[in-house]
């Protein structure tokens, strides 16, 4: 089946088998290997991307279901060589060890911050409850998300990513202000 999907600002049109998972399509067809697969049970959240502005587990969505949609992956966050504020906050706060959960954690953190621009610690923990980390014990991840909240202007997040290529790099919230 032919699908047309905009991923990280570029539109692709491809023939896929209906059984192709979105994460497979991203990694194997588009080479977006920043998005990883960490489990077989939809539990770990490592594969989290944004689909039309909302976080989803890309191992639990079929590529055909994303037909006509916009997808943002971890690879689409940095602009002009500048890390997204949430990426930077993870770096600054040592919020990763092996780093396998990090792409999903960051995508989910951005979704959370779009819903709640200054979450309390408990709200951060609940917001990332679908993302498992086997290394950090979460403390520094929670710290990084709250730190990023303070760095970002309210309103940044998935909505701010819904841009065409032409406007990339200039939208609100992706640059430190």
């Amino acid at each position: 089946m032919r699908i047309t999907v905009t991923v990280d600002g570029t539109t692709y049109s491809d023939e896929v088998e209906p059984r192709t998972l979105l994460v497979q399509y991203l990694r194997e067809r588009l080479g977006k290997v920043g998005t990883v697969v960490g489990c077989d049970t939809s539990n770990c959240g490592a594969c989290t991307v944004h689909l039309d502005g909302h976080s989803v587990k890309s191992c639990s969505v079929l590529a055909v279901q994303a037909d006509g949609c916009e997808v943002t992956t971890i690879e689409g966050l940095a602009r002009d060589g500048q890390l997204h504020p949430v990426q930077r906050a993870f770096h600054d706060n040592h919020a990763l060890q092996c780093g396998f959960c990090t792409p999903g954690m960051i995508m989910q953190a951005i979704d959370l911050l779009a819903e709640d621009s200054d979450p309390e610690e408990q709200a951060v923990r609940e917001g990332i409850e679908g993302n498992l980390c086997r290394c950090t014990g979460y403390q520094n991840i929670v710290r990084a998300v709250r730190d990023a909240a303070h760095e970002m202007r309210p309103g940044a997040g998935p909505e701010a990513e819904r841009v065409s290529e032409a406007t990339m790099g200039t939208q609100a919230g992706v640059h430190r202000s």
């Binding site: 089946m1 497979q24 049970t41 939809s42 689909l51 989803v56 079929l62 055909v64 409850e129 498992l132």
Partner: protein, 283 residues
């Protein structure tokens, strides 16, 4: 793992979906949010020949008022249910239970109708549906029919839906002004309820005048805690009275033993969580 091969169609109307389901026969499956079905396909626990995706059937999305009832479209996502102002006003219990389902990513995709049709005994939405006496609206080649919640849940993962039938809407009587709480006990990294209790009450002064209580995962199907309801009505909302009423929570249940809890522990949880749910609802 990757699912086995299947054909895929994405109809845009209920009529087309019903026809597609009839044409495809027994080996076809409905795809709603996919948050239960896609993991099952990935693990190859099922291998349907065809998926009929309801994702583009927009008439099945959203919540509307219809006289004394709310109508929740089967394809309304958990995320939209939690944020819906009509649900907050007239069916708070459903909103509260839905907010405990899974995690944000799963709530963005998973649907109200998909959860009810899936009928997992640990699913959180069946007990509130039963407690609130909702009505399931289904469509098949023979047209439309309605099934009361009390007849919809038949067994583990089994509902009264016949082959070829779609769950299209859920009609919820309005419970405007009722107080509600969903109390759930689960492991941190696995949101599924070990036991859950859905409670809705009407309180006048300090007296409980009406009560509705449903239990999650205390049987192969959700259970209405009628004994608790009877014991609560007419009582002052005191800790002693609520605790005494909650002792009836195990009546009519048949809890299983699994890796999370044995049957006796589930019975203990049912009483404790009922007491907590009713106390929180009475606020």
């Amino acid at each position: 793992m990757i699912p086995a091969e299947f054909d895929y169609v994405a109809p845009t109307t209920v009529d087309d979906a019903v026809r597609a389901l009839a044409d495809a026969g027994d080996e076809a499956k409905i795809l709603a949010g996919g948050q239960s079905l896609i993991p099952v396909l990935r693990m190859r626990l099922a291998a349907p020949t065809k998926l009929i995706d309801l994702g583009k059937v927009t008439e099945l999305q959203g919540v509307r008022e219809d006289g004394g009832a709310l109508v929740i479209g089967a394809m309304t996502t958990h995320y939209d249910v939690v944020r819906d102002p009509l649900i907050a006003e007239h069916a708070k219990l459903i909103g509260m239970a839905t907010s405990t389902v899974a995690d944000p990513q799963v709530r963005h995709r998973g649907t109200f109708g998909g959860s009810l049709a899936h009928a997992d005994p640990a699913g959180d939405l069946a007990a509130p549906a039963l407690a609130l006496d909702v009505e399931m609206v289904v469509h098949g080649m023979d047209g439309r029919r309605t099934i009361p919640a009390s007849e919809f849940f038949v067994d583990y993962f089994t509902t009264a839906l016949r082959p070829g039938e779609l769950l299209t809407e859920v009609r919820v009587p309005k419970y405007t002004g009722w107080h509600a709480h969903y109390e759930k006990f689960n492991r941190v990294a696995q949101a599924w309820s070990i036991v859950g209790v859905a409670a809705a009450v009407q309180v006048e002064g300090h007296t409980i005048t009406q009560a509705r209580v449903g239990l999650t995962n205390m049987s192969s199907v959700p259970v209405r805690a009628s004994g608790v309801e009877r014991a609560l009505v007419g009582q002052e909302a005191t800790p002693e009275a609520i605790k005494a009423a909650a002792q009836h929570a195990v009546e009519g249940t048949m809890p299983v033993a699994d890796g999370n809890a044995d049957a006796a522990y589930r019975e203990h949880l049912a009483k404790v969580l009922t007491s907590r749910a009713v106390t929180a609802a009475c606020g």
